[in-house]
Amino acid sequence: MIAEARPRPVPESTAAAKGALSISDLDKSFTIGGVSRPVLEAIDLHVEPGEFVSIVGASGCGKSTLLRLIVGLDDEYSGEIRLDGERVATTSLDRGIVFQDHRLFPWMTLEQNIELALLNTDTPQARRAQIVADHIALVNLKGFEQAYPHQLSGGMAQRAAIARALVTEPKLLLLDEPLGALDALTRVHVQNELQRIWMTQRSTMIMVTHDVEEALYLGDRVVVMAPSPGRIRRIVDVDLPHPRDRGAPLLHKLKDEILAELTASPVEPGNLVRLPGREER
């Protein structure tokens, strides 16, 4: 699979030009021991440019598989995944991803790790050092440029991974349980950082998490998924301005609702309910 170094120009007719994701009728199954097991079923999702969408669900609902399909690490699926109208078939610098394990190369310094993202772009060599430095500053890791990953704490390494993903200025940034490996205190800190970075950059972001609170705190919308096979149960609008207040009553209310749903009995497919949440004044 050869990745495209640069996105081809988008046709004029498409309404959104920077980072609109459109998933239609997506199905995915794995063949294990000769038996076909469905992992994702009838996924429909449209993400507007600059939106932050969270995806929550229990284990086994195919959240990570969905992200792998969107980023192009996996290309076997039926249905449509389109970024700005173009079908997703392979990896591309348009779409970045941050994994739960930071996946920085242990044998490279922080600086080298981030710079390698620019390796196959047509960014002029002279500008690369500056771009890297800017992004290191963006995630507040100034001073650690020469550190090896093993010298960084979990939170710092994850921030470095975020910097690496953003340095190519992707249209779409995917985050696969990025804070799952961090302790509770670090998690809150990096959540704040993530919100700040998103507000600065306004890239489209899709984040998978098992932490409902986190999903609601960061997301404009929260997609609730059901497992076996993975389906979208419902999509919750979180109509609150950024930066968010963790104590907002609406967040707590939605959290209770979603948690109740996630721990309830399975729902029929196609039962898509949109429940707008508006703050009551």
């Binding site: 996946r103 242990p106 390796l119 196959n120 190519t168």
Partner: protein, 259 residues
């Protein structure tokens, strides 16, 4: 007792007891005056043998001989081992072709090939170097192969995401990730090369070296010379190994804990 042992001075002192006892027993055997003491060499004669070997320069040249044979063999066998091991790991067809073959050859202990190699290439230094190279070949081959095949797929994923070409993938991911095991292979190869060097020197008795000196001394019943050579072997071997470990630690300084 345990508390006493934790003090460094105490540990060193205790550690010296057994060697001291051993040396005393040795000296007693050597000066007992009976038939057996003909075999033992009194301690002072070991000392004088040491002086003798140093003054004639033969100790130094022996050490250089053995060392250069080991390192040359390591260079040859190791380079081949790394190259083939990495190549086999990256190209499946090569693996299919060579794998079972190498696996079969490996079953025969190296020492078994020595008479054959002696017949083919004569009993000179060339044969010795061949055996030393072969002994360094297999550990480096196997470890390099394992190093590349065990590169974690998650790093390769990152390479795909950033559009790495096959060359970039090799240079930036496969090779560095495999480096710990490649270096392990070289360390093992060094150990095997060192042992093979001494062994071929003893068995073929040509080309200078600590083993040759030991073998010759044995025919002359000069136990004192043999002992000097054995001690020199131990010390030199230890020093080389330590240097190698230092080099390894420097090359792998990005690792969390020293390996």
């Amino acid at each position: 007792m345990t508390a006493a042992l934790s003090r460094r001075g105490a540990r060193i002192a205790i550690g010296l007891v057994v060697p001291a006892l051993f040396l005393s027993w040795w000296q007693w055997q050597a000066t007992a005056g009976d038939a057996r003491s003909l075999a033992f060499a009194p301690l002072h004669s070991i000392g004088s043998a040491f002086v003798e070997l140093v003054e004639s320069g033969s100790l130094f040249s022996d050490m250089v001989s053995t060392l250069s044979r080991s390192l040359t063999g390591l260079a040859i066998g190791g380079t081949l081992g790394i190259a083939i091991g990495v190549a086999m790991a990256v190209w499946r067809p090569l693996d299919r072709m060579l794998g079972p073959l190498l696996h079969a050859i490996r079953q025969v202990p190296l020492i078994g090939w020595l008479p054959l190699i002696g017949l083919w290439f004569g009993t000179g230094q060339g044969s010795e170097l061949i055996v030393v190279s072969i002994s360094a070949f297999f550990p480096t081959l196997l470890n390099s192969y394992a190093g590349v095949t065990n590169v974690e797929p998650r790093y390769l994923d990152v390479g795909r995401i950033y559009g790495f070409t096959p060359l970039q993938r090799f240079r930036l991911i496969l090779l560095p990730a495999a480096m710990p095991l490649i270096l392990t292979g070289l360390t093992q190869g060094l150990a095997f090369a060192w042992i093979a060097s001494i062994a071929t020197e003893i068995l073929l008795g040509v080309g200078g070296g600590l083993g040759v000196t030991m073998q010759v001394a044995q025919t002359q019943q000069r136990l004192d010379v043999i002992l000097v050579a054995i001690i020199a072997t131990a010390i030199l071997g230890f020093v080389i190994n330590q240097l190698f470990l230092r080099l390894r630690r420097h090359l792998l300084r990005w690792q969390a804990a020293p390996l």
